[in-house]
């Protein structure tokens, strides 16, 4: 249908529309009009992606000079591919309606592992190996060497792309990862470099967060993207953690040992080169003296990891004299390494700020701040000069030099914690240096500054106001949308007591309590008897789940559950868990029914959807608080309190509730879907917890279902499931939660729609 969103003609590739989609597009348009940033929360399964795409593309077509590019960031590879498929649908609709093929270019970009078509390289299992191997085939000096020695291995796909691929732009169209590979195979071009090259002139780019947020990658990939772009972060409820992760470094004794080896290798290589090709080193030195970093435009294939600091922080000066010659730099690295080793020989926990660390390193080994800042840059130059093919081996020394650059660049927002042993095993020495970022706004700041509109959206962003605070930006729109429902297809229940009136809670004091564990078991058992097909249960942590499972096994609860359904359990091994997941789905599919025991914050809770019969009930055992004894977390909480005036408890609760909401939200993926959401902890009944759930869940929790016993919950669940099992047709929804164009245009409906968006 064709919509009129405040004067903008929007093509929407469906015959019907949800009211909240219309409302979402309205808000989105206002954000784009104001050229500002927005925070929008809309329940999962209400067609967020297609609304976003429809509106932004319509906007791009209407105002090609205002918005030149859409950068759509998602979290996982399947999500990225889903976005592209939705986009394809939209584009097909466009060409059908307008009768002309439009010249939009849209493509997905992913790592080499997902795009490589080189028969040997692509067969490698891990992304790192693929990257390293690719580098060893395509780096410029390798290719230069090949002129003298044609027997060296070659990647013909890259050569072909380099020869002709750049002249011919990628023809307009929608390219998913597989399409790029197909295209690459047909033409004999490398799809990865083709995609990286094409994102510069593409109208729509879909890729992962890291390409914008991780400075090490962003500098390589996204540096030249146009300023007049709209950036969308989908599934952004964890964006602060992504930011923090990309800027944090951990150094263990093992890292240092490997680093030592790397430095030795460097030393040897330098000696060797000195004897054979001293001119090369002299050339490098000359370059560094002149500060001709810019002049030496590194070929795209050479840069393995760019500078870990953000673009505007990178100095435009020459590398300082103390580390200019190769030997000096290696000596410098050695000193730095020895210093770090000495710091790891601690008996007690040390916590200090970056300036403290810099002062200490100056006092002890006379290393200045300035050469430290150039460490990462200098190492890259050296690795390039030495023509080291297998860069993957040098990850340890790269890590150390990145750390050096980071610690000397940022004086605020980071903390250094050195722990001599793990808290759980105080007898085993395992010293770790955590250099941890506490301020997510550092990594995302350049994004907000550079692009004219940044949209942060997800199914669960409550409470909305906390994101602008922790990411330190000023949105022009903040809105939370409810899900209009013709039938209440979600049923949140808070189970606070067992049948024996024992209070259920995962809080620390009662964690080992057998009565609680037994009651949790009973809840699962009873639910397994009444819920059809799949049940997913989430625990607060892996250790907690292990203990409960063992305890249930001893008490024979698992045996009884097995009478009703098969049991699959998430493990810490991703491959094993994937298999369990697939078997789980198979068991749901063939009617046997299954239970998946899983962990909040785990991979399953973040990336896997349990649509329809794959998840008819989600049980959240306990409140998934983060492990609060961690010093890194404590430091971060302190920082949040001092810098952003966010109280510790508020943040912890917010964090726990967003994960709980994520977990239970996995089961509902649309209006035709239905599912039970069981919160098995009495603490959920409190207003401060409940109030932090997304509005679309909160509004279905009534006072009667706040502190249920297991039996009561079972009764309510039975009733709910029977009602939901009734046929649900389109006619039931029409006019309420599903609109035709005529219905949408009625005055009364437009009135109603304005109430869907809940502004804060």
């Amino acid at each position: 249908m064709k919509l009129n969103i405040e004067g903008l003609l929007v093509y929407f590739p469906y015959d019907y529309i949800y009211p909240e989609q219309y409302s979402y597009m309205l808000e989105l348009k206002r954000t784009l009009d104001a050229k500002g940033h927005g925070v929008l929360e809309m329940p999962s399964g209400t067609g967020k992606t297609i609304s976003l795409l429809s509106l932004i593309i319509a906007y791009q077509r209407a105002f090609p000079l205002e918005v030149t590019k859409l950068i759509y960031c998602s979290r996982t590879v399947p999500e990225i591919e889903k976005v592209i498929e939705e986009l394809r649908k939209l584009m097909e609709f466009y060409s059908k309606e307008t009768g002309e093929s439009n010249n939009f270019l849209a493509l997905a970009l992913s790592s080499r592992k997902n795009l490589c078509i080189h028969p040997e390289v692509s067969s490698l299992r891990f992304g790192k190996e693929v990257d390293g191997k690719c580098h060893s085939l395509t780096a410029s000096y390798i290719r230069a060497q090949r002129h003298s020695n044609p027997n060296l291995p070659v990647c013909r796909f890259y050569e072909e792309f380099d020869a002709v691929g750049r002249q011919v732009p990628l023809p307009p169209g929608v390219y998913n990862l597989d399409d790029l590979k197909d295209f690459g195979r047909r033409k004999g071009w490398c799809p990865y470099y083709l995609a990286r090259y094409s994102i510069l002139h593409a109208n729509i780019v879909v890729y992962s967060y890291h390409y914008l947020l991780d400075p090490k990658i962003a500098d390589l990939v996204s540096k030249e993207l146009a300023k007049k772009s709209v950036v969308v972060f989908d599934e952004a409820h964890n964006i602060d953690n992504v930011c923090i992760d990309s800027m944090s470094v951990n150094i263990t004794r093992r890292t240092l040992d490997r680093c030592q080896n790397n430095v030795d290798t460097l030393q040897n290589t330098i000696h060797k080169i000195k004897e054979t090709d001293a001119a090369k080193l002299r050339e490098e030195y000359r370059r560094l003296v002149e500060g001709l970093k810019e002049a030496n435009v590194a070929r795209e294939t050479d840069i393995y990891l760019a500078n870990p600091v953000l673009p505007d922080e990178i100095l435009q000066e020459a590398v300082p004299g103390t580390i200019r010659t190769a030997e000096h730099f290696v000596g410098f690295l050695r000193r730095f390494l020895e210093y770090l080793k000495s710091r790891l020989r601690v008996q007690h926990v040390v916590q200090e700020s970056a300036p403290q660390f810099l002062k200490d390193i100056f006092d002890k080994v006379c290393i200045d701040r300035k050469p430290l800042r150039f460490c990462a840059e200098r190492l890259q130059s050296l690795l390039r000069t030495l023509e080291i093919a297998d860069i993957a081996d040098f990850s340890a020394v790269t890590l150390i030099s990145n750390f050096a650059t980071l610690v000397s660049t940022y004086s605020q927002g980071f903390t250094i914690i050195i722990e001599p042993f793990e808290d759980r095993t105080p007898t085993i020495a395992n010293p770790v240096l955590h250099f941890s970022c506490m301020d997510p706004s550092i990594a995302i700041k350049p994004v907000f500054q550079r692009f004219q509109s940044v949209i942060i959206t997800s199914g669960t962003l409550s409470p909305l106001d906390i994101y602008p605070r922790i990411l330190d930006f000023r949105p022009v729109t903040m809105a939370s949308f409810t899900m209009t429902l013709a039938r209440t297809c979600l049923c949140p229940l808070i189970v606070g007591r067992g049948n024996d009136q024992v209070a259920l809670s995962s809080k620390f004091e009662t964690r080992e309590d057998f009565a609680v564990i037994r009651n949790y078991g009973n809840l699962l058992l009873e639910m397994s008897a009444i819920v059809p097909d799949g049940i997913v249960a989430f625990f607060t942590s892996y250790v907690y789940m292990e203990n409960i499972v063992a305890s249930w096994y001893e008490q024979g609860i698992l045996e009884n559950i097995q009478r009703n359904k098969l049991i699959f359990i998430e493990t810490q091994d991703a491959a094993e868990t994937s298999m369990a997941l697939e078997k789980y789905q198979e068991a749901c599919e063939n009617g046997r029914g299954a239970i998946l025991l899983s962990v909040a914050r785990g991979k399953v809770s973040e990336g896997i959807d349990f649509v329809h019969h794959f998840g008819r009930a989600v049980i959240m055992f306990g409140v998934p608080y983060v492990y609060t004894q961690s010093r890194i977390l404590k430091a971060r909480l302190e920082y949040l309190r001092d810098q952003f005036q966010i109280r510790e408890n508020d943040f912890l609760t917010f964090d726990a509730m967003r994960h709980a909401a994520q977990c239970v939200g996995r089961a509902i993926r649309g209006k035709t879907d239905y599912g039970l959401m069981i919160f098995a902890d009495k603490r959920y009944a409190r207003a401060d917890k409940r109030g932090k759930l997304p509005r679309w869940i909160q509004e279905h929790i009534n006072d009667g279902s706040l502190n249920l016993t297991v039996d009561e919950a079972v009764q309510l669940a039975k009733h709910f499931l029977r009602q939901m099992a009734q046929p649900f047709r389109q006619e039931d929804q029409l006019g309420l939660s599903l609109l035709t164009l005529e219905q949408l245009q009625s005055e009364e409906m437009l009135q109603k729609i304005t109430q869907i968006a809940h502004q804060t």
């Binding site: 019907y16 390409y211 991780d214 890590l399 793990e422 298999m579 697939e582 492990y627």
Partner: protein, 507 residues
């Protein structure tokens, strides 16, 4: 001997039954016993009728074998040959063990059918209790003309019966019982053994390797239940345990499953993340390290449990879906999937495309163009949701009926003219009054209704049962005619006898 036409599989002499010496014969279809010196069997059971065999514990003085029939009766044989009693018994037991399961299938199916019929039909069940349990007629006679459908089913239908999956909890169903002296007893049925074999092919292999050459069957299962393998929480360390190899094989199977990877890219957690952080970056190191060295015993046993559960569920699932595939098929299948994984690009897209399309589809936003199906139309969905409610007694006359009849009577009355010459005589009138007053002849109907309420419901129920039972007996009685076999004659006499004794007070 009567058994000449049958194949005799085993003859055991000096077997006592009811304190009488005799010979035990195991034949192709039945087991029989005849007292010494006589050439007819006093005991004969078809294998299909035997539910199970029980043997006396090894230490006991008497070496016995008991057969329990489906009807609940049992026959005990005492092996009395002093020198070889135990050996004889073992021989009989072994043979029975092989024979019984063959007949079991059929028997089970019949039994199941009978059970189902009894459960579904309370009247039939009552009848069964009245006639069979109280031994008025035998079970065979009772079922003879009811189970026509079961026995006469099309053989092709019988072969195509749906494969029954395995209960996920079959291991849990083997509840150990304490035998009172520090021991545990596990009761294994053929079904459970089959489940174990189907789910854990490794155990089956062990079984065929070791039984009966190295171990007796009993020893095998004893070891199985003692093994670390069965108790999943223990870590297998003992190498002398024959099942440790099974555990290893399982481990291997699990590994190969894991290595094979998953077909659905949407659940592949390994390729979920686009760009994982390199080692050393990130803050999420609060998780305890997973290396085995750092694990405590408890932790690794917990881990073992979790792994076992995953494996068990996967195996149960696989056993259910194998559907009698030959191993060769499987092998070729796995090899072809191996081929897949090597060059996954050629095979992946279709599955992936389909899954992606499924994931982005909003069925309610599109116009429906599926073929119309007939929806279940519930008139009162409340009743569906809440279960049946006893029906209230209803007045069947509508108000319209009442109005009509009132009008009719009014009309009649308006036209009524007393015809005084035809009035009844006074005696007739007074007798009519007597008859119509309470206790009179014509008021009997009211009194009879009272009986309906006066008699307690148990008595009514019993009466009903008696009536039905008598009806059934009569049916049997009449079905005996014409009496042309001695068996039927006996039956007629029997029924007549019972009928006269038990049921004549009804008449």
């Amino acid at each position: 001997m009567a058994s000449l036409s049958e194949e005799v599989l085993l003859v055991v002499k000096k077997v006592r039954q009811r304190k009488q010496d005799g010979t035990l014969y195991l034949m192709a279809e039945r087991i029989a016993w005849g007292p010494e010196g006589k050439d007819r069997f006093t005991v004969s059971h078809l294998y299909a009728d035997i539910r199970c065999q029980k043997i006396s514990p090894d230490g006991k003085a008497k070496v016995q074998l008991q057969l329990v029939l489906h009807t609940g009766e049992s026959t005990t044989f005492h092996f009395a040959n002093e020198s070889s009693a135990l050996k004889d018994r073992e021989a009989a037991k072994e043979l029975l063990q092989q024979l019984l399961p063959k007949f079991k299938k059929k028997a089970n199916k019949e039994l199941e059918e009978k059970n189902r019929m009894l459960q579904e039909d309370p009247v039939l069940f009552q009848l069964y209790k009245d006639l069979v349990v109280s031994q008025v007629i035998s079970a065979e006679e009772f079922w003879a003309n009811r189970l026509g459908g079961v026995n006469n089913t099309d053989p092709t239908l019988f072969n195509n019966k749906q494969e029954v999956g395995i209960s996920g909890a079959f291991l849990a169903d083997i509840r150990p019982q304490t035998d009172g002296c520090n021991g545990l007893r596990y009761n294994l049925t053929a079904d459970i053994i089959e489940s174990i074999f189907r789910t854990y092919p490794a155990v089956k292999q062990k079984y065929s390797e070791n039984v009966p050459h190295n171990l007796t069957e009993k020893e095998f299962w004893t070891r199985f239940f003692q093994s670390h393998y069965f108790h999943r929480d223990r870590i297998n360390t003992g190498t002398q345990d024959i099942f440790s190899e099974c555990a290893k094989q399982d481990e291997k199977g699990l590994k190969s499953l894991v290595v094979q990877g998953v077909k659905n890219p949407l659940v592949d957690l390994l390729s979920l993340e686009d760009k994982t952080l390199d080692e050393g970056y990130g803050v999420s190191t609060t998780q305890p390290s997973t290396s085995n060295a750092n694990r405590t015993v408890k932790e690794s046993s917990n881990y073992a449990i979790i792994k076992r559960f995953n494996h068990h569920s996967a195996m149960v699932l696989a056993a259910g879906s194998r559907k009698g595939e030959t191993p060769a098929d499987q092998a070729s299948e796995t090899s072809s999937t191996d081929g897949n994984s090597r060059d996954s690009d050629f095979f992946q897209p279709p599955v992936k495309k389909v899954k992606l399309q499924e994931a982005i589809e909003y069925e309610d936003l599109q116009r429906e163009n599926r073929p119309k199906t007939v929806a279940l139309n519930l008139k009162k969905s409340d009743r569906y949701a809440h279960g049946p409610v006893p029906l209230q007694s209803q007045q069947y006359t509508t108000s319209q009926d009442i109005i009509n009849s009132v009008n009719y009577i009014r009309h009649e009355m308006a036209n009524y003219k007393p015809n005084l010459t035809q009035v009844v005589s006074s005696t007739a009138a007074s007798s009519a009054i007597v008859a119509l007053s309470p206790g009179g002849v014509l008021m009997q109907a009211g009194a009879q209704q009272a009986i309906n309420q006066m008699v307690p419901s148990e008595v009514q129920g019993e009466l009903k049962h008696l009536y039905v039972a008598a009806g059934e007996l009569l049916r049997h009685f009449w079905s005996c005619f014409p009496v042309n076999t001695p068996f039927l004659e006996e039956k007629v006499i029997n029924i007549t006898f019972i009928g006269v004794n038990d049921y004549c007070h009804l008449c």
